[in-house]
């Protein structure tokens, strides 16, 4: 993204808001008129999109983009850790129950 510095925050906000609204479409694709149905696909996509948002918040809103390499790598590692923990616990739960 090589946008002018002034519009970067706004573009970030637009992307994050779009993903948030996309959630509604995601759920609608699997729900049946108010009756919710389980779906690993929806759950996985929801978690992955949440991780994308989290990384955007780190990079753009929290300005990690301009931070030293250590913090950039640490926050990326954190996004991976969170993703691994959430997806891991979800699929482990599915496998066991």
């Amino acid at each position: 993204m090589n946008a002018r510095p002034k519009s970067r925050p706004l573009i970030t906000w637009l992307i994050l808001s779009a993903i948030t609204l996309a959630y509604l479409a995601l759920d609608r694709s699997v729900d049946n008129h108010g009756t919710y149905r389980a779906s690993s696909v929806v759950t996985t996509i929801a978690i992955l999109l949440a991780l994308v948002k989290a990384r955007y918040i780190f990079r753009e809103f929290m300005q990690v983009r301009n931070a030293p390499a250590l913090l950039r790598r640490l926050t990326d590692l954190w996004v991976l850790l969170i993703g691994a923990a959430l997806l891991g616990s979800y699929f482990t739960g599915l496998a066991i129950h």
């Binding site: 925050p9 994050l16 808001s17 759950t43 949440a50 959430l86």
Partner: protein, 207 residues
Amino acid sequence: MTDIAQAGPQPGAAGRPPGESAERPARAVPGQPDMWVLVLFEALVFTAYLAVYLFHRSAHSELFLRSQADLSPWLGTLDTLLLLTSSLFMLRCVQASRAGAFRAAMSQAFITALLGTAFLASKITEWALLVHGGHGFTSNEFFTYYFFLTGIHLLHLLIGFITIGVIICQLRRRERRSQEIVETCATYWHTVDLLWVLIFSLLYVVR
């Protein structure tokens, strides 16, 4: 609290060329590096809570889905948009402060607080509606998780109001104003947003 210790050029320093962007030219940790310990630690703790929730969700899939249907995805989406917008204004506040535009920065800080208050009002309304509809903290397992996660998040939000207050106090000072403190508090506020993004997707969106 009056130390201005940071790498890179001082913000709002005399002699800044006109038209220079508010972007930090040198690589620097935004705010105190110490605050990042809190950010990363709390992110892990919340991840632990959410992992426990996800693990138990699959044990009672029907119950969780049925209860989840009583949540309003519109309110949840509104909440998320409110916090995302508040983060936008918080970033604008930090950039304005860095460029020396303290009046503008104060307005941005107030708007951030306003959006945070709107989130608070929305959350309390949602809780009231749920309780009125017969769903409380002890109603069933899903709602225990729901009220616990949104409750502990709300606590973080309330602490966030304190940090905004600190930012406003800093911006009002003429002397010994600390850009580092402003950025440190901003980092905390963004964490509130970050945590909500995770909670929202797991309580409202996953199936």
